[in-house]
Symmetry: C2
Subunit: 221 residues, 2 copies
């Protein structure tokens, strides 16, 4: 059986979960308290991060490398365009969300509010929370701009770029940190992606001590 | 003419420069003081980071996405294996260096010692410098372990993983922050990669106010 070692609100884990589900690859989810640095876990991944995917006896780390691997091994349905220019745009946007958005928004909101509490690192730093709340607005505006020119973030078809973005936003939505009123266009895009069967497991996540807002799992939010 | 907007010691820029040079793609190097947020530059790349590659009229950002694009458009000579497992390993290691090594070492040594001074952000934080100096040892040991099992970092052939690693190490070597005595195996690997024609432009870099050690550009260091 394939196994994904993960934490439920990690956007990097969610991106891999979405890829696996979209490609209908069954996987057992195993919650990993990676911050406890269990020796067994470190053996699975010396980088000491989640996600780690165990698949066909192979142990894999790094969400970007895993998603590209899944795309090459299980190309149907595809989450990448065929042409080099289209693929460049997908990878650029995946990096945008996993690097820039992660640094400016996710780490400043989700990590301050949730990860610090879960891993016993104390209270949120309000300077960070404020910076994250300010930054997410610009990112939603950028997404709005992209989606006014394209059906999906990277072009005409749904790709890994949409999954990367939706992974960060869904985790932030769990803690009510996304103002969906900012852009009808972005909200419509999220409603579309949220209604995919691949999204179900993510909408069913429950993190002890954190109750999601009612609209979190509501497809008509 | 192709143009690469870069800063000389940026490992992300160096990785792209190495890929371009290895594939014999000519490019004009343009130094970009990205931290000054010049509006022209922000138009080229809303993420406000280097490298930015202008190629055939197309403007590209994100070093990982650029290198994959170059690999797909100019596959000869190749910097990626053909099989999905081999490609996974390359991408895992590129992420290892560009994410983990960058966070634990490069940002703690190079950014403290050089970037802070160049961008007028004051003096190095000695706690960070100490943490970086400690962390690089473990990374050199990990490379040593890999290279005892493989000719190159990701396998039998030289790949983007070697370029990612060499980009970080060469930038750190410029400020004498690599202890090459720690592993003869890693030193041999670096001597091999350093002697490639693609490396020449990197060894010729001169950063005002920072004099590299004599061995920096010496092929028999």
């Amino acid at each position: 059986m394939n196994r994904l070692f993960h934490v439920p609100l990690s956007p990097f884990c969610r991106k891999v979960r979405l890829s696996l589900a979209e490609k209908r690859i069954e996987v057992e989810l195993v919650e990993e308290r990676y911050w406890e640095q269990d020796p067994d876990f470190l053996r699975r991944n010396p980088a000491a991060k989640v996600p780690v995917l165990k698949m066909n006896g192979k142990m894999m780390a790094e969400s970007g490398a895993i998603c590209e691997y899944l795309e090459e091994k299980y190309p149907d349905p595809s989450l990448m365009p065929r042409d080099a220019d289209g693929r460049y745009e997908v990878r650029r946007l995946v990096a945008w969300f996993d690097d820039k958005f992660h640094h400016e928004v996710t780490s400043k909101l989700l990590y301050e509010r949730v990860n610090k509490k879960v891993t016993g690192q104390g209270y949120p730093d309000s300077t960070n929370v404020k910076a994250g709340a300010r930054a997410i607005k610009y990112h939603l505006d950028y997404m709005n701009w992209l989606l006014e020119h394209r059906r999906w973030l990277a072009g005409d078809v749904m790709t890994l770029a949409d999954f990367a973005a939706a992974s960060h936003l869904s985790a932030l939505d769990y803690i009510s940190d996304v103002d969906w009123n900012r852009s009808e266009t972005v909200k419509d895009w999220y409603a579309k992606i949220k209604s995919r069967p691949a999204f179900r497991s993510i909408l069913a996540d429950q993190i002890p001590g954190f109750v999601p807002p009612q609209h979190y799992s509501d497809l008509d939010f």
